[in-house]
């Protein structure tokens, strides 16, 4: 199952770009925001063993990363080191529930 990291509110675009590079990821796609669709930055490891989607959900005032693939653990570690992680328990319950329906919170077994 994919993992999700809720990122600190002060995370900047430069911070995300730096984290992508520091984690050994490559930028693979940028999806502009549209009605009902948040802006996303997609990055992946060159060997395809991990794909990360950084989602800037302005409607929920939340930036999070969904990390998927066999190398997810190490990439989550690297992203957490670069960007820090917001405690998932600080999220509003409806948002948290929606997130966790699709992905497991990183660091929470």
């Amino acid at each position: 199952m994919a993992m999700v990291l809720a990122l600190p509110a002060e995370t900047t675009r430069d911070g995300v770009d730096d984290a992508i590079r520091a984690s050994g990821l490559r930028l693979v796609n940028l999806v502009a925001a549209a009605p009902g669709r948040p802006r996303q930055i997609a990055a992946a490891l060159p060997d395809g063993s991990c794909v990360v989607s950084f989602v800037d959900d302005t409607s929920a005032s939340l930036l999070y990363a969904i990390v998927d693939g066999p190398a997810s653990e190490s990439v989550c570690d690297a992203l957490a080191r670069s960007l820090g992680v917001r405690d998932w328990r600080s999220l509003d319950a409806p948002i948290r529930d929606a997130l966790f329906a699709a992905a497991q919170p990183w660091g929470h077994k």
């Binding site: 430069d14 992508i20 590079r21 490559r26 930028l27 693979v28 940028l30």
Partner: protein
């Protein structure tokens, strides 16, 4: 910033190798400004083809293996925008191929039969030492030239086996039919260490780019004919004055008799109709003449001769064009006193000093000390300043016979080839500017290094190429 940026057509992107390091520069063709890019910024620019927004450029940069902060990419484009180097969206079509001032071969079908008139009595012999391959900011070629070059084995930069760093677009940032060769310390990348064209050595003359094969020919469209003359910008053009007819080659091959015979990709300068003859200010022509009449008048001058001093002749012609009865008759080329001549030309020499000092300072900032262009600009700026410091009258006195002969030929070539009518300024101003070049060349002959080549060719090439 523009939404989907690309380099504008007036942005001339050029790759240089300077003391072993790649440097990409953008010349602003309209303002003369120069922007230097590092390799990563050059990659950003290469990804901005007018179809991509900032996200698209960021992705393209990442696909080129150079993932960067988007803010840094944005900052590069903001800086280029500030310099007026960006345009929006895809290019409207092939650029600079046909305008009021210039067109590129092939000729329009209806004009394919227009005859070519070549400068008579001149045979050209290249000395093969590559001076002309190491003095211009741009060496232009077509994709067809590039294909031929690849076929015979084209030189690439170290580590560039797939030849990605051999050419850049001639205009703007999007590669189209015309490209510009990478220069290594100011020399064409294809020039071998022994200063011979590597393409010529490996594939014969036919392997060279078309414009190089046609060099130093200039082509001007006078409406009823094309005039083929000589750009006196290389030592060989002057040393060829001593070439026996059986040794040199005609300025255009004898098989090229009509416009339709010219190879593809040759620039043809158009003589405007009417022609601007003089102006009260540089940008406001105040007297014009019908093209046919002006051309006929110049031809009469060539037929009847213009004396034995080209500087004097330039000023006499300029004055004639400024007088009310211009084009009625050929003026008398009586000698003008040195002080009077100096007064007429001081402005032209001052303009050369100013422009070349600026060009030399710009070159000093990034060009290699080995770069001939840099040394030429510095020497010419210094010579022009010295003339002004000492007074023009001294410089005008007693040039040697060889220099006088070279000047007379340069004036004949400029008149026959209508260079003074296609210089982007009224003819009278162009003639004074030409005389100013002759003055500076005379000074350079005295103070310049022999290594710079013939002073007149050096001045003529550098001022046009700066």
């Amino acid at each position: 910033m523009t939404l989907r940026p690309r380099l504008a057509e007036h942005a001339l992107l050029r790759r240089h190798v300077v003391d072993g390091k790649d440097v990409v520069v953008i010349h602003h063709a309209l303002t003369g400004a120069l922007v230097t890019l590092d390799e990563r910024a050059a990659t950003f620019v290469g990804c901005a083809d007018g179809t991509r927004d900032l996200d698209g450029i960021t992705l393209a940069v990442a696909r080129a293996g150079m993932f960067e902060r988007q803010s840094e990419i944005e900052a590069v484009f903001a800086a280029l925008d500030e310099h007026g180097l960006l345009a929006e969206g895809i290019e409207p079509g092939p650029v600079m191929l046909r305008s009021a001032e210039q067109w590129m071969t092939p000729a329009e079908p209806v004009r394919a039969d227009v005859p070519i008139e070549a400068l008579s009595g001149y045979r050209f012999r290249c000395d093969g030492v590559g001076a002309c391959c190491s003095q211009y900011a741009t060496i232009a070629l077509s994709n067809e030239d590039l294909r031929r070059a690849r076929h015979v084995g084209m030189r690439t930069l170290p580590g560039d086996e797939d030849a990605r760093r051999v050419v850049l677009p001639l205009y703007g940032g999007v590669r189209t039919e015309r490209v510009a060769m990478t220069l290594v310390d100011g020399r064409c990348l294809q020039l071998d260490d022994d200063r011979r064209c590597g393409l010529h050595v490996r594939g014969g003359e036919a392997a060279k780019p078309t414009a190089c094969r046609m060099y130093p020919a200039t082509i001007a469209d006078i409406g009823t004919a094309l005039r083929a003359s000589v750009a006196v910008e290389c030592d060989c053009t002057i040393s060829s004055l001593n070439v026996a007819p059986e040794e040199g080659a005609p300025i255009v091959p004898e098989t090229m008799r009509h416009a339709g015979d010219l190879p593809l990709g040759i620039a043809v300068r158009v003589v405007a109709d009417p022609v601007a003859l003089m102006s009260a200010s540089p940008n406001a022509p105040s007297r014009f003449g019908p093209r046919a009449e002006v051309v006929a008048w110049i031809d009469r001058v060539l037929d009847e001769g213009f004396g034995d001093d080209a500087i004097n002749a330039c000023v006499v012609l300029a004055r004639a064009l400024e007088s009310g009865d211009a084009l009625v008759s050929v003026p008398t080329f009586a000698p003008i006193g040195a002080d009077e001549l100096a007064g007429e030309l001081e402005g032209a020499v001052a303009a050369i000093a100013r422009d070349m000092t600026g060009a030399a300072q710009a070159a000093d900032a990034w060009r290699s000390e080995r770069d001939r262009t840099r040394r030429l600009r510095r020497a010419i700026a210094s010579a022009a300043s010295a003339v002004l410091d000492r007074g023009l009258a001294d410089t005008l006195l007693a040039p040697d016979a060889a220099m006088l002969r070279a000047e007379l030929f340069a004036l004949r070539a400029a008149l026959f080839g209508m260079h003074v009518l296609t210089a982007g300024r009224p003819a009278a101003a162009a003639l004074r500017e030409l005389a100013g070049r002759f003055v500076v060349a005379r000074e350079l002959a005295i103070v310049g290094s022999k290594e710079l080549g013939h002073p007149l060719a050096a001045v003529m090439a550098s001022i046009r190429g700066a």
